[in-house]
C-alpha cells in the first residue's frame, strides 16, 4: 500500500466517523426538539420557561468560559441589566410592544458588556475573574441605590404584553413557544459561532494564547467580541426572564447568580453545547424539587457537594463525560 492510499484511508475513516457523529447528533437534537415542543403539556410552562432562561444564560456564559477560556465572575450584571431595562421600559411606556422591550434590554447589556470587556480583557485567569467581579459589584450597588429598581423590594408588575402587538403573551403556552423559539435561535447561533473559523480562533486562544498571537491573530479583539456576544445573550436571558416572571429583582444582580451560572456550566460540561443546557436544567430542578421536600434545609450543601464532586471526579461535566464514553466504547 502506498503512502497516498494510507492517507486517503485515514481520511475516509475520519469522514465516516464524522458522518456517524453528525447522524447521532441529528437524532439526538431531533428527539430533544420534540420533547421541548411537547413539554408544556406535561410540565408547568412557567417552570419550563425558567429553565430555558437559565439555560440561555448558561449557554451565553459557556461561549466565553467554555470556548474562549475566560472565566467571568460578573455575568449576573448582564442578566440583571437586561431584566431591569426591559422591566422598566415595559412598565413605564405602554406603547412599547414586548419584543421592543426585550431588544432594548439586550442592547443595554451589550453596551455594558463592551464596557466590561474593554476594562477587563487585558488581564487573565484570576485577575480577569476579579476585575469582572468588581465591575459586577459596581452594577449591583447601582441597582440597590437606583430608585427605579425598587431596591430590595424588586421591580414588580412588568406587563407581558403582546408580541408584535398580535400574540397575547399573558397566555403561558404562547409565551412558552416564544421563549423556546428565542432560545433555539440563540442556541443555533452559538453553535454556528463556535464551529465557524472565528470560533476556531477562540478555541486556539483558549488552548494557547501566545501561539495564537504568534500566528498573527489580534487576540484582544477576538476576546472582546466573544465577551460582548456573551453579555448580549446573557442580557437577552435576563430580559426574557423579567417578561416571564413579570418582575426583576436584585437576586439577578447578586454575585451568587454569577456563581450559579458557573456551577450550571461546570456540572453540565463546559465547552460542550448541550452541557450548560443540561446543567441549568439540573440546578433549577434540584433547587425546586428539594425546596419542596424534606431535604429543603439542605439545598445549598447538596449543590455545593455536587460541585465539589464534579470538579474532583469528572471535570468535563456530565455531557463531556458522556461524549468521552461514547467515543471510547461505541466509536
Amino acid at each position: 500500500m502506498s503512502q497516498i492510499d494510507i492517507q486517503s484511508d485515514i481520511q475516509q475513516t475520519i469522514l465516516k466517523q464524522q458522518k456517524i457523529d453528525s447522524r447521532r447528533k441529528w437524532i439526538l437534537n431531533g428527539v430533544l426538539l420534540v420533547l421541548l415542543l411537547l413539554a408544556p403539556f406535561v410540565m408547568y410552562p412557567v417552570f419550563l420557561m425558567k429553565i430555558l432562561c437559565f439555560a440561555l444564560f448558561a449557554v451565553a456564559f459557556n461561549l466565553l468560559f467554555g470556548f474562549t477560556g475566560l472565566l467571568s465572575f460578573g455575568h449576573a450584571a448582564f442578566l440583571a441589566t437586561g431584566g431591569y431595562t426591559t422591566g422598566y421600559l415595559l412598565s413605564n411606556f405602554s406603547g412599547l410592544t414586548t419584543e421592543m422591550g426585550v431588544i432594548a434590554g439586550t442592547l443595554m447589556a451589550t453596551v455594558l458588556g463592551l464596557g466590561f470587556a474593554l476594562l477587563s480583557i487585558r488581564r487573565q485567569g484570576i485577575y480577569f475573574a476579579m476585575v469582572t467581579l468588581a465591575l459586577a459589584q459596581l452594577v449591583f450597588f447601582f441597582f440597590v441605590q437606583a430608585s427605579f429598581t425598587g431596591g430590595e423590594d424588586g421591580m414588580h408588575g412588568v406587563p407581558r404584553g403582546e408580541l408584535f402587538g398580535l400574540i397575547n403573551l399573558e397566555d403561558n403556552l404562547n409565551l412558552y413557544y416564544v421563549v423556546l423559539t428565542v432560545f433555539l435561535g440563540c442556541y443555533l447561533l452559538v453553535q454556528r459561532i463556535v464551529s465557524s473559523p472565528y470560533g476556531h480562533v477562540l478555541k486556539a486562544i483558549k488552548q494557547n494564547e501566545p501561539r495564537a498571537i504568534s500566528l498573527g491573530y489580534k487576540v484582544d479583539r477576538y476576546k472582546i467580541l466573544a465577551f460582548v456576544m456573551s453579555a448580549a445573550l446573557a442580557g437577552l436571558a435576563g430580559s426574557m426572564k423579567s417578561v416571564v416572571f413579570e418582575l426583576a429583582s436584585l437576586n439577578d444582580a447578586h454575585w451568587h447568580m454569577s456563581g450559579e451560572v458557573i456551577l450550571m456550566t461546570l456540572i453540565g460540561g463546559m465547552g460542550t453545547l448541550l452541557g450548560p443546557v443540561l446543567g441549568a436544567t439540573l440546578v433549577v430542578n434540584i433547587e425546586y424539587q428539594l425546596g419542596q421536600g424534606p431535604l429543603r434545609d439542605w439545598v445549598d450543601p447538596i449543590l455545593g457537594g455536587i460541585f465539589v464532586i464534579t470538579v474532583l471526579a469528572f471535570r468535563s461535566g456530565i455531557v463531556g463525560e458522556v461524549q468521552k464514553f461514547v467515543r471510547k466504547n461505541m466509536g
Binding site: 441605590q145 425598587g150 414588580h156 437576586n251 425546596g291 419542596q292
Partner: protein, 404 residues
C-alpha cells in the same frame, strides 16, 4: 313607591346573602401553602419553626373545617422572587392552594401577592417587615399580620424620646429600606421634641462597623439608632458591645430586631438594647402556655413571626368555619369583621388595606444578671397602642383606601 324600593332592595339583599351562604369549600379541601426561607438568612425568624406553628394551628383547629380536610404544602423560597412567583403560581393553578402563609423577604412577598391577586386567593403575610406591603403594594388578597417597619421605626423612637432620650444619632443602611426608616425615625424624634444631632450611612452589607460606631459614640448622643436589619444590625450591636457603648451611658435602639437575633447575640452583647416587638413569649400565662408547647416541638422559643403565623392561621380557619366558604374575598371580609382576641393580640383588627393593627411593645434586652435563662431576654417597658403603632389610613397610598 319607597315601600316598593325598600322591599326590592331587601329582596335583592337577601338573595345575595343566600348566594353567599351557598358558597362552599372548593374541592372539599382547604389547602395551605407555607412559603418561607427555609435555609438562608431569614431561617431563624420564620423558617421550619414557622411551619411547626402553622401545623400546630391546624392541629388545634381539629384538622378539618366543616368536614373538609386541611392540607399543608410547603416550599423554600430561597429568598428569590422568581422562585416565589413560580411556586405560588403553580400552587394556585395546579395544586388548588387556597391560602399562602409565611412570606418573609419583602421581594418574595410582593411577587407572591401579585400572583395571589391575579388568581384571587389569599395570602397571610407574617415574616415581611416592609410597610410598603400594605401601602403601595397592597392588594385585596393579602393581610399583613404580625408587624411592619412603620410600627418598628415609629414605636421605639417615640417611647425612648418620651423617656428622656433627647439627642439621637442614626446609623443607616445605605439603600431604600434604610433611607425610609431614617426618614421615619427623624420625623418621630423631632415631633416628640427630640433632636437628631448626626447620622451616617454605611454600605449594605457591612461586616465591620468599628468606624461607624466610634463616630456615633463620639457624637455624645443619648441614643444611637440602627436603621438597618439582619446581619448589619447584629454586627453593629456586637461592635457597640466591644466599644462599651451601653456601659458608657448611651442607649442603642434597634429597629428591626427579632428574638432569634438577640438569642444568637446573647445578653452579654445585646444588654440594654431597646427595640419594638409585636409580641413576646413571656408576657402572660396565655403566651407562656403556647410557647411551652411550641418549645416542646421545636426546642426554641417562638419569635413574633411564629406566633403571628399560628394566630393568623387560626383566624383564617375560623373565618372559613363561620362563612362555610374558602373563597378569598368572603374569608377576608369575615376576618376583617372579627376582632382578634387570642394569645397573639388583644382587640386586634384587620383594616381595609390588609394591615392587622394591634398593640406593639417596647422591650429592653435584659442584662446577664437579670436574665434567668437562655430565653429570658426581654423586659417589656411599655405598650404602644394600636392606633399609634401603625400608619394611619389617612396617610395611606393603598389603592383600596384611596380608591384610585
Amino acid at each position: 313607591m319607597t315601600m316598593m324600593k325598600k322591599l326590592l332592595t331587601s329582596a335583592v339583599a337577601s338573595a345575595l346573602m343566600v348566594g353567599g351562604a351557598q358558597a362552599e369549600i372548593s374541592d372539599n379541601v382547604v389547602k395551605i401553602g407555607y412559603l418561607a426561607d427555609m435555609s438562608g438568612t431569614y431561617r431563624d425568624l420564620a423558617g421550619p419553626n414557622g411551619l411547626t406553628a402553622l401545623e400546630m394551628a391546624v392541629k388545634d383547629f381539629g384538622g378539618k373545617v366543616d368536614g373538609a380536610k386541611i392540607e399543608i404544602v410547603t416550599a423554600d423560597d430561597r429568598n428569590s422572587p422568581d422562585v416565589a412567583s413560580s411556586t405560588v403560581r403553580r400552587w394556585v393553578e395546579n395544586d388548588k392552594v387556597d391560602m399562602v402563609a409565611g412570606l418573609v423577604a419583602s421581594s418574595v412577598t410582593i411577587a407572591a401577592t401579585k400572583v395571589l391577586e391575579e388568581a384571587d386567593k389569599l395570602g397571610l403575610v407574617n415574616g415581611s417587615a416592609a410597610s410598603s406591603i400594605t401601602n403601595e403594594y397592597c392588594t385585596p388578597n393579602h393581610i399583613h399580620y404580625a408587624y411592619d417597619t412603620y410600627a418598628l421605626s415609629i414605636g421605639t423612637p417615640t417611647a425612648i424620646v418620651k423617656e428622656g432620650g433627647k439627642t439621637w444619632y442614626i446609623l443607616t443602611a445605605d439603600y431604600a429600606f434604610g433611607h425610609a426608616m431614617e426618614k421615619d425615625v427623624t420625623r418621630v424624634v423631632e415631633a416628640n421634641g427630640g433632636e437628631i444631632i448626626g447620622s451616617i450611612r454605611h454600605p449594605f452589607p457591612t461586616p465591620d462597623f468599628s468606624s461607624f460606631i466610634l463616630q456615633a459614640q463620639a457624637s455624645g448622643a443619648d441614643v444611637i439608632a440602627l436603621a438597618n436589619a439582619g446581619a448589619d444590625t447584629t454586627n453593629a450591636i456586637t461592635t457597640a458591645a466591644e466599644f462599651g457603648v451601653t456601659q458608657s451611658g448611651q442607649t442603642i435602639a434597634g429597629l428591626v430586631v427579632f428574638l432569634s437575633d438577640v438569642h444568637a447575640l446573647g445578653t452579654e452583647v445585646a444588654q440594654g438594647l431597646q427595640l419594638t416587638t409585636g409580641w413576646y413569649w413571656d408576657m402572660n400565662d396565655e403566651t407562656r402556655a403556647w410557647s411551652d408547647r411550641f418549645m416542646e416541638e421545636t426546642g426554641a422559643r417562638p419569635t413574633m413571626v411564629h406566633a403571628g403565623i399560628y394566630s393568623s392561621t387560626l383566624q383564617y380557619l375560623n373565618a372559613i368555619k363561620a362563612t362555610g366558604s374558602d373563597d378569598a374575598q368572603t374569608v377576608r371580609k369575615q376576618m376583617m369583621d372579627t376582632p382578634i382576641n387570642d394569645m397573639f393580640a388583644k382587640n386586634g383588627r384587620i383594616r381595609e388595606d390588609g394591615r392587622m393593627v394591634h398593640d406593639m411593645y417596647l422591650a429592653e434586652v435584659k442584662t446577664p444578671e437579670e436574665s434567668t435563662g437562655e430565653w429570658d431576654l426581654y423586659k417589656i417597658i411599655s405598650t404602644i397602642p394600636a392606633d399609634e403603632a401603625f400608619r394611619p389610613l389617612a396617610e395611606s397610598d393603598c389603592k383600596l383606601v384611596t380608591g384610585k
